[in-house]
Amino acid sequence: MTEDLEPLRRSRPDRLLPDDPPDPEILVREKARLMMAITGTSEEVVHRRTPAIYPRLAYTDEVAALDFLTRAFGLVERRESRMEHPDGMLAWLEIGDGVVMIGRAGEEHHGLVSPLEAGAPTAMVNVYVHDIDAHYRRAESAGAQIITPLEDMFWGDRRYEALDSEGHRWHFAERLSEIQARRAAGQGRAQP
């Protein structure tokens, strides 16, 4: 119908450099500026930089993965950074001061495969969380497959391991010293 537009279509700048997202920090920064303009506050906006190293995990269904990771593992999406393409979505998820990026698996997406396709996990993401026991209960009740149960380890961590919606392996831990300090401070149970 519009084959004559094909050269034009292919000349789209970001088609020439496929899957090359603009810096998501631009969106975080501009959202903060907009909110300042809207609410009229001159509050300095706290904006954490993307860490020097952050992995990208691949999924055959990255939308379902986003739902699972936020629901079961308590990751928080930087919603304003989400990139929606007709052939897949990219999202940046934070927990603590860490960031993971999730996107679709496939040849055209940096050749990454999901554990679903590989038949085995190919990476493990290690995360320190606040209140590991509450985190564990949340993950379990959201249907995460627990691989190793909660246990105190000799190196000073309390940890468990779980698989996400497509079998990426996650290792969640909290330092025993922090758990003890929290108990000593009489806080008891903190929020997840």
């Binding site: 519009t2 004559d4 537009l5 050269p7 034009l8 279509r9 292919r10 000349s11 789209r12 700048p13 970001d14 020439l16 450099l17 603009p22 998501p24 631009i26 969106l27 920064r29 501009e30 959202k31 500026r33 907009l34 909110m35 303009a37 809207i38 609410t39 919603r79 304003e80 950074s81 989400r82 990139m83 929606e84 007709p86």
Partner: protein, 198 residues
């Protein structure tokens, strides 16, 4: 299911901070639109302009619409139109990348000499730059943004019929400007005479 953009904007009339959700949902799409059309370094500032204008004009948004995206595209298209120098620079930069990269991407290009293919890409972008702004705008919204005709009509505030007629005029003009002057096919043993070479 998420609430519609119309409902979010309705809420923002009372509680302005709710408008942040509109940025969350469409900021990255509009940033990419702007980065295609102006110098990427300017796209960031223009993104802020687009959303501040949108916020100020939110009472004019038709609240029964599910998506604010066409409306935001319309505001962004106006903002871009005020930066035609930057737009012209962007087109030239795209032409250069296209000339370099087009050869490997396009099977049709492989049939002709690399220099010819590169020249053709430059010609497409040059031609685009010389089209009347209204026609270029629609060609780019169709080819680069993949918007539907009804979305373009909403964005630009013109009837769908006008979208169609401008699109077909733009296509005809683009074809006239780029055809005829380049080698479309090359068969070994025959002279490359299609349209004459420059």
């Amino acid at each position: 299911m998420e609430v519609s953009d119309g409902a979010v904007i309705a809420e923002s009339l009372e509680a302005p901070a709710a408008f942040g959700v509109i940025f969350d949902r469409h900021g990255s799409t509009l940033l990419r639109f702007l980065a295609r059309r102006v110098d990427p370094s300017e796209a960031e500032d223009l993104l802020g302009d687009v959303f501040r204008i949108a916020f100020e004009r939110r009472s004019t948004f038709e609240l029964d619409r599910d998506s604010a995206r066409p409306w935001l595209y319309g505001i962004a298209a106006n903002v871009v139109a005020k930066h035609h120098r930057s737009e012209a620079r962007r087109l030239r930069a795209v032409a250069r990348v296209a000339a370099d990269r087009g050869v490997e991407d396009d099977p049709a290009d492989r049939a002709v000499a690399a220099a010819d293919a590169g020249a053709r890409w430059t010609r497409v972008m040059d031609a685009l730059g010389t089209l009347p702004a209204a026609e270029r705008q629609i060609l780019q919204l169709v080819a680069w943004e993949e918007l539907r005709y009804d979305e373009i009509a909403l964005a630009l505030g013109i009837p769908v019929g006008t979208v169609r007629s401008r699109l077909s005029r733009g296509r005809a003009r683009l074809a006239a400007l780029t055809e005829d002057r380049h080698v479309t096919t090359y068969e070994p043993g025959t002279a490359c005479t299609a349209g004459g070479e420059r």
